[in-house]
Every structure is written in C-alpha cells, then in structure tokens.
C-alpha cells in the first residue's frame, strides 16, 4: 500500500486536544514508502511531538491484528495512559489499532493505492484488487488499473499516437497490451469480448473466509 504523510500541521491539529500520545509505526509498506518507518516514528517522537509521546512501537505489519496485539503488549502501561494513538500506517493499520486498543487512533498518513516500488520515492499503481485477475489474458498488464477509464476491451477513441487522452505522456495501456501480445504471438487473446464487472459480487465490505477441512488447495469463501 502506497502512502504519503499528512501535512505536519494537519497531524498536530488532530492531536491538539490529546496531551499524551502513543505512536505506532509500520515496518512493512509504510517503511518502504518512508512515511511510517522507524525514522519517521523517531522524528515524531523526538521532535514534532516532543515530550508528549509516552511510547512508540514499530509493528512489523499493523494491518495484521495478531502482530499488532503482540507488539502492543510491550507498551501496555503507556497505552492505557495515552489519550490518543498516532498511527503511521495505512488505513488498515489505523482501523486495526482502533479495534485492538479501543483508543482514539488518528491517521498520520494518507493511503493511496496498491503500487509497485520502482525505487525509493517512485511508486506506481499497478493493481486494483478487482477480485478477478485477468493478467493471463493481457500479457501481464492490467487495463483496469492503467487505463484511466478502466476500459476492458480496447482503447477509447481518444487514444492518439499510442498515448492516453487523459494524462499527457501516458502510454495507452491497450497499445502496451497489443504490443506485448504481438511480441508473445498471442494476439488472438484480443478477440475475446470481456463481460462487464459483476458488481453484485463486489458489495462492500468484502470478506474472504477460509473454509475448514481443505487440505490440498485451501478453499475460500468470498463474500462481497
């Protein structure tokens, strides 16, 4: 999950009525994005919030309830005393912290998208978590994510010279898919007309629940 840190003033404003604070950092995605890693936690603990911070922890993955519960045991006493928790993680981490601590938990980050890290500071959206991966049909390139219109069956009439009409300089994903399938000798895959998404299966909030007893391939029940 790609995140950016909220403006310092916004975070300070959110925390203004809470004198005693605990900070939770994220050792996973937010550390990669350098928005909620140990350096950022230290910065908030030692500089931005000064003596108001009772304790801080770096959780391996605050989105995993088991790991968060485990790590919070280390600061149980400080957590009880705290007026609020500043969570430097994605929205999953913040909501998990709310459910686990019952405290006022405030987001220090904005969550944007599932992205790939090309290198430090360069993150690109590549997956929309559609629940029906079609990358095998498109040469491994996701049209849902990379077409601003999410078109499933070829380019729009706005494509010009292989470029997207929406964002200047952006390659049309359907041109990319065509070139890729051509190179792979799989242009016949373009012949299929894909059905529209079935939103009846995507009602929020979605769930995936593993079914007990499956041994070879773990069966899953998905609700949406």
């Amino acid at each position: 999950m790609i995140t950016t840190q909220k403006a310092k003033e916004e975070i300070l404003s959110m925390l203004s009525s809470y004198p005693k604070v605990v900070i939770i950092g994220c050792g996973g995605c937010a550390a990669t994005c350098q928005t909620g890693g140990s350096e950022q936690v230290k910065e908030w603990e030692e500089k931005s919030l000064g003596g108001r911070v009772l304790a801080s922890i770096m959780c391996e993955e605050p989105c995993d309830e088991r790991l968060l519960r485990r790590d919070l045991r280390r600061i149980k006493k400080e957590l009880e005393e705290a007026d609020a928790v500043l969570v430097l993680a994605c929205g999953l981490g913040v909501q998990n912290a709310v459910e686990v601590t019952g405290k006022v938990c405030l987001p220090g980050l904005d969550s944007h998208f599932y992205g790939k890290a090309e290198r430090l500071g360069r993150f690109f959206e590549r997956c929309r978590a559609c629940g029906d991966c079609l990358l095998g049909e498109t040469g491994g390139i996701c049209f849902l994510t990379r077409c601003p219109k999410g078109l499933a069956n070829g380019p729009c009439e706005g494509m010009a010279d292989g470029k997207c009409e929406v964002r200047e300089g952006l390659d049309c994903v359907w041109k990319m898919i065509y070139d890729r399938l051509d190179a792979l000798g799989q242009l016949e895959k373009l012949s299929q007309v894909r059905d529209p998404e079935d939103w009846s299966k995507r009602t929020r909030p979605q769930e995936v629940i593993w079914q007990r007893g499956a041994t070879e391939a773990r069966g899953a029940e998905r609700k949406g």
Binding site: N153, E165, Y178, V193
Partner: protein
C-alpha cells in the same frame, strides 16, 4: 447520395429555444448528431424536440462516461419510445476533459459492452435476457478512429458484433478513402471537425467519390453560420455531380 449530418454539442443552458434556433440555421443538414460530453442538456430531450420541429434524422449519442449500465439501458429504451431510432455509441470523454473535472468517472461499461447491450435491446431483450415489452427497434452505430492496427482490429470487432454503421474520425492515418468501407464492412460516416475542413474542391472531390454513407460535421456552439456555409457548399457540390 451522402447524408450530411451536423454534430452539435448539448449546451449547458436552460435556453432551449436558442439551441433550436441555432439548429434551424443549419438548413443544409440532413440529420443532427447530438452529443453531450457531460452536464449539458439531455440529448434525448433535445433530439425529441428537434425531430418534432424539423423532422430530420436524429443520431443520439450515448456514452458510459457519466452513466452506469442501468441509466444507459433506460436511455436506450427511452430513445426508442420517443422514436429516436439512430443511436450512436462511444467510450466518451474522461470527466477531466469536461466541464466537471472533479466528477467520478463512471465507465461501468466500455464501448463494446455498451454495444452488446444496445444490440440486445435492438433484439428485444434487456441485459438479464428478459423481453422488452414493445421491443426497441433501434439502429446502433459506433464512433471510432483508425490510426493503428489495434484500432482497425477493434472497429472490425464492433462490426462483427453487429454495429449497423460507423462514424469514423477522418482523416485516418491508416486507411485511405479507397479502402472504405471494404475494410470495415459497414456504412461509414466520415467525422470531420469544422475547423479542419477547407472548402476546396480538391479536398472534397475524393470524399464525394468515396463509398461513404455520409459526412458528420462537428459544429461548435456559435459556429452555426460557418457550419451551414460548409454544408451548403458541399451539398451543392454533391448535387452537381449527380
């Protein structure tokens, strides 16, 4: 004889009379193509009014940029109920290119999916396969441009699905007029921008002699006089050849 169609943008206004008055200036147009990029007057309502007042062919342009499949299906059967039998489909503009750049892009369907839904309606069925009481006898066209093999492939795909006609953005970087409509296999209307056309015989001779069903001339708001001038000139030029 080629049909001359005036493409008009549905304006963001409540002054319907002004729109109708502007359309009436286009006496040489044999039909009107009503396009609402987003937020303008309903092309369904304008089309119905224009058809009633002028009695000319109306091409109703629908796109999924700002409507989900439910709303689009409603538009399709409403068009049929109002007697607007020519429906023209495109992917439509991204909201960032319209007067509502902050709007959520819908695109619940893409052009091919919309085409399939329209063709099912034409066959008398709703998307769930139920019969449409009274049917929906529409003719379904698509907007396309063909500047690359990918786009040619796609327009052929739409023809194979059953599109009745194609409004082809012209000129094409890939096809010559001589290759039309053989490459596409459907009646072709050449879509031109008013600003790009020059009233020179050399440019139009080739179009006049091409096997195309007509010309779609996009006339921006306020340019009706210039639009009529071009349509009138070409209309006379067509007549003089026949």
């Amino acid at each position: 004889m080629q049909l001359l169609i005036a493409q008009l943008d549905c304006p963001i206004t409540t002054e319907v009379e002004s729109f109708l008055a502007a359309a009436k200036k286009l006496k040489s147009a044999g039909g009107f193509h009503l396009y609402n990029p987003g937020g303008g007057l309903s092309p369904l309502a304008l089309g119905s009014l224009l058809q009633e007042e002028l009695g000319k062919e109306i091409y109703l342009h629908l796109h999924p940029a700002d409507r989900n499949r439910t709303a689009l299906f409603s538009d399709l059967i409403t068009a049929s109920a109002l007697g607007l039998e020519k429906v023209l489909l495109s992917a439509g503009p991204h909201p960032s290119k319209t007067s509502f750049p902050e709007a959520k892009p819908v695109f619940d369907l893409d052009l091919l999916q919309l085409l399939r839904m329209a063709l099912r309606a034409k066959a008398g069925f709703d998307p769930a396969g139920g019969p449409i009481a009274g049917g929906a006898p529409i003719q379904v066209g698509v907007c396309a441009r063909v500047d690359s093999p990918l786009e040619l492939f796609r327009v052929k795909q739409m023809a194979d699905l059953g599109a009745d006609y194609v409004f082809l953005k012209w000129p094409s970087k890939m096809l010559s007029l001589a290759q039309l409509p053989g490459e596409i296999g459907r009646p072709i209307y050449l879509s031109l921008e008013l600003e790009q056309v020059k009233k020179t015989e050399g440019d139009w001779k080739e179009i006049r002699e091409a096997k195309v069903a007509g010309i779609n001339l996009h006339i921006p708001v306020g340019k009706e006089a210039k639009g009529e001038e071009v349509l009138k000139w070409y209309s006379h030029y067509l007549s003089s050849a026949s």
